[in-house]
Amino acid sequence: MSETKKDESGEEARVGVYICHCGGNISDHVDVEKVAEAVKDIPGVVVSHTDMFMCSDPGQELIQEDINKGNINRVVVASCAPSLHETTFRGAISRANMNPYLYEHANIREQDSWVHHGDPATAKAITLVAAAISKARGLKPLEPIRVDAASHTTVIGGGIAGLRAAVDLARNGIKVALVEKSPFLGGNASQLDRVFPTGEKVADLIEYLTSAVAKDPNITVYTCAELTGFEGYIGNFKVTIKRKAPEDEATQLMLKQVKGAAPGSFHPFVGFYPGDVPAADEEETLTTGVIVFATGFELYEPRQGEFGYGENREVITLRQFIRAMADAPATTETLTIDGRPVRRIAMIHCVGSRQIPGIHEADENDYMNEYCSRTCCTATLQAALEVRDNYPGTQILDYYRDIRTYGHNQEEYYSRASEKNVLFFRYEPEDSPVITKTTGEYPLKVTVVDKLTFNEEVEAGVDLVVLATGMKAKNIDSLVEMMKLPVGADKFLQEVHPKLRPVEMANGGILLAGTCQAPMDINESCNAAQAAAAKAAALLGKGFVELDPFVALVDPDRCEGNGDCIAECPENAISMTPDNKAEVNPALCTGCGMCVAVCSVNGIDVQGWGLKEYENMVDAIVKF
């Protein structure tokens, strides 16, 4: 393809400018016609158009027509943020057989029409477009850098999402290193019993995946393992996996539970035990093409005293309750836990979720979980129904803010709970239920202002309080730091865009699967994992990956060979040629530009982001 592209570098720049109305998003505040008129006489500009939607097919065709007619050899589109459509327009240009890098984007929506109004907004648009034109005029055609890609992925996390991704990638013929911190596979799901809305045993789901993992020679499982080293780039990451015997108490305890069991078996509330715990530390470095994050979530731990938690042994989390129910004697009139009859249970929703600044207490880092954890409503009702179905003598009081049984076949849990006489109380966060010790018939008392009965204060004695705790982003700070990953305000890993690229992180070749991104249930985690696997398969299927060519390039005519850039480069991407000129290895160069600033003769520059272009843009900003 590349040889058919016209090389315009020798030609005089002829810039086509295209200004988008964005269906009023821009044109309601910026007089786009005036902008088109104002920039059309800037030297180098040969056409200046506006269109309702530049990103639409007719909009793109407008550019392509001008290219095909030979009118233009540089393109400037003024529209929304470049993160949305820069690649769209580069693609359009490319399809018209012009080099896609002879393109500059002016952001006149997010950074103009949405923040300014009236004439000043129009004036600013003119300046921004003028600056883009001045940069475009100096652009040179670039070719993407093609690097070999290893047909290998590293999946971090052996929970449901990690297992799902590993199985799909392996079936696709891609080798997988499945790296799990604990000695077990199955992750958080292992702590469940039955899953909504199918009522399947979670053990069956995990074993479905682990048996596929065990069978597939493409998958290597590393339990008790962590990623300790990371370098490289998409297609060619080098990761170091360190295996080490687990030391923490909780894991020791779990290992004790599986002691003597055959390897390759599932243990309720522990996980699937592949059966290999390293005696001594082991370390291995792998070349891997893509990394899939499936590090999962952490359950919110209520604060000491939050709804009486930690102060009363009768206050437990939903997870603890599910565990206790599994151990409880079946077929009794009343549920018995720890030998005590449980006549009445209060279930409280939104513990550690939907926290509101000013009402809830922030943690020591001034952080709170403002989001909904998505799964707890249905899980709570599922547990409530299980109690009502099996222990008719045990009453359930349910304290909620909104019941969010949103998922397929989940609404049924809500309607059945009402039929089964689960009593609902609706609370506002500022009037959350209060748990107090009593000496009466019941050990605890729940007091709440019930929104459903005209804000009446309702008191009830209970034997047990179950807190539906939410999901928290897991602390994976060391990985985030090592791999420089984007994290959202909610502390979960951040995708590029929830709709355009939902399972990709901004770091090329690093993908997202499951609850490391946001709260999800098992079905949603599996979907995300499979979507990530599809992306990985597309990236690695060709055997090579094309990278943006925005790397440093030496101008040998200017280079004086003093080596300043070599000393400065943090990636060791620059070396000296025998004839004493600096030379850049484009696969290693990250395009940071540290070398550019230290070169006294301007003999090295970042392609597409050159210093000279910035100077031209400043000139335009000053002038217009």
């Binding site: 943020a81 923040v115 600033a597 900003i621």
Partner: protein, 145 residues
Amino acid sequence: MANDTQEGKILILATESCAYPGANSVGQAHSSYPTNTYILRVRAPVLFPEHFYMDCFRKGISGIIVMSCGEECPYEGAYHAFAKRIDNVFQLMKKEDLDLRRLRLTAICTVCNRPFLKEVNDMNNLIKELGPPILKGEEAATDTP
């Protein structure tokens, strides 16, 4: 257009991975801020040599805000090198009798709407108070407002 230059222009160098999307996030929230702000998308501000900043002032830019990713900079060692460079620029500014507050270094993340607004408003108030930049020995060359 022309009357805009009267109030002075602010150049913002915003990093591609943090501050630039941060500025977009301000846009998505439709929070307004002074119009005389021009944001250039940069991969890392470490690219710019000392003279770039001085040239900007010389050309008539009244204030520069470098909005970086701070410690979260995706490029190894770049933030440190950049901080050192800015120190050098401050030295040069001192020599030219330029108010050091005209150059501001700050970390803005992708969701830092409020800090972004505060930075641009502060700088705007400052350059209003200071007027256009006049470099030593160049007084004559500058237009009187």
